[in-house]
Point group: C2
Chain length 303, copies 2
């Protein structure tokens, strides 16, 4: 396994070439389908409007269109109940024209996420966050794994960052991001087979516990968390954090920021994924790959 060469400058691990590869593969699988098989349809459900998901939704639509996938946006009103979201998910599960369903989270307070995604079969649960897919992730055999977690693995693979027997820290323990990542990285295979440390808001003395780790995957959503004081010099940082911070120079007054934002890691670490332009675009592209996989299963094609 090739190692990224240590230079005096930090190497930026850009998401675009990784996303482009995934999208090209999805496009070619869709265009190679038999004449009688319709193109896949991805349904993306969200509750309310505006919100932090609007950007990701546009990215999904753009990615889907670029690979020849049908994209169906399913909007529910801000005041929708858990029962209403579940009912809509159940309808999409029954709809034979839909091959992949995403439930955009976080949902508004008062709407429970898990019962909604648990209306989906493991094949249609395209982001791998239903209970059965998460359980199969523990077993090492998920039908779908969360796209953001797979995106981190895609980046490691693309840039030939070996994980086998390496120490990897995952900062964050959410059931949709941090824990799936930890399970994939500690699991069998490559990327995988890593010795994984799971750190979180209750962890003490981050700088002490990150010492000795070759790869830091941060999913905290806390800009500035990853500073030179806490990140080991020469490590590889995958920044999954995504926050919105004030920026007077931006037309909206806000901009996207990762956990490494303002941490001064440039020139300190060996390699770093930027935010935006790192994990984000790969996540959207990986979602398309998951959707094509689900469509292949549901339409009885070879994977």
């Amino acid at each position: 396994m090739t190692r990224i060469r240590v230079g005096t400058l930090t190497r930026l691990l850009l998401g675009k070439p990784v996303a482009d590869e995934l999208l090209a593969e999805a496009r070619s699988r869709i265009s190679a389908r038999p004449a009688e098989v319709p193109a896949p349809t991805l349904a993306s459900m969200h509750v309310g409007s505006g919100g932090p998901f609007a950007f990701y939704l546009r990215q999904q639509r753009r990615s889907a269109e670029s690979v020849g996938m049908n994209f169906r946006e399913v909007s529910l009103p801000e005041d929708a109940s858990t029962a209403q979201v579940r009912e809509r998910a159940r309808a999409l599960e029954r709809d034979a024209e839909v091959h992949a369903v995403l439930v955009q989270h976080p949902l508004p307070p008062g709407v429970q996420f898990q019962p909604c995604v648990d209306e989906l079969s493991p094949e249609k649960d395209v982001d791998g966050v239903g209970s059965v897919n998460l359980g199969r992730l523990v077993e090492g055999t998920p039908t779908h794994a969360p796209a953001v977690a797979l995106a981190v693995l895609d980046i490691l693979r693309h840039y030939s960052v070996a994980t086998r027997s390496e120490r990897v820290a995952v900062i964050g323990r959410s059931p949709t991001v941090g824990l799936p990542l930890a399970l994939l990285l500690a699991g069998h295979g490559e990327p995988g087979d890593a010795t994984v440390t799971v750190a979180h808001s209750r962890s003490r003395n981050l700088s002490e516990l990150l010492a000795g780790h070759r790869i830091i995957v941060s999913c905290a959503g806390v800009p500035g968390l990853l500073s030179r004081q806490v990140v080991p010099a020469g490590s590889i940082v995958i920044d999954v954090g995504l926050s919105s911070i004030a920026d007077p120079n931006s037309p909206s007054g806000m901009r996207a920021a990762g956990d490494a934002d303002g941490g001064g890691l440039d020139g300190w670490v060996e390699a770093l994924t930027p935010v935006p332009g790192g994990v984000g675009p790969v996540t959207a592209a990986q979602l398309m790959r998951n959707a094509v996989d689900g469509w292949s299963m549901l339409t009885g094609q070879r994977p």
Copy 2:
């Protein structure tokens, strides 16, 4: 949270008082049932005879009888197929007189474990190893969690070993033992909220990576793995490993051994669970508690 006092001698964390508490609670819940509700029935399935499970099976029967639970041993022949084991599990799932079903593993080579336990509802899957329960464990809301993993938490709680913000190493990444333990210890609550390192057969330099860990939970099944060379002095060792090793002084020629066996940890670590007599009896007792929980849910009693 009280800390075990460091003395010159290693303290043995015996399983019996922990198991006795669990069994007393199960007994009292069963005896307090309404007159019209039958006592719970636990069905324990195994394939073939003899084998390493025979001891655990006797322990289950003894524990069940001691709390007033019905115990049904379900034996399938050595050459049973996955389909036959699944069919039997399905029948027990449908049987309204059965409240809890255990599928003893490992199964003979050629019989797949997961499809068999996945015939069970989350309520009857008493050892919490079906896909839905494992997924809910990732989400932090399992209906049942694996008894052996809960037993480790029971021991930590009983002996007032705090885990919050402590560094805990779990050695082993099996979907039924190591990973559930890591998820419980890294999850919210106490015991829990720990910074967890997952190590395994691909991990390099165990002594280096265990440094700084307050608690070591070993599920490797490798006698002698935990020696003074790898375990930090003054740490607390929970020995989940269970192997059979040759012993000319035993009538059978064999005896049970944990991962710390022969490691010379006595006088080196602060506290240690013995094998046998540590995690084992607590696991059997915790299984009874899970069975009583399942029975309470299925018969509509308050937990």
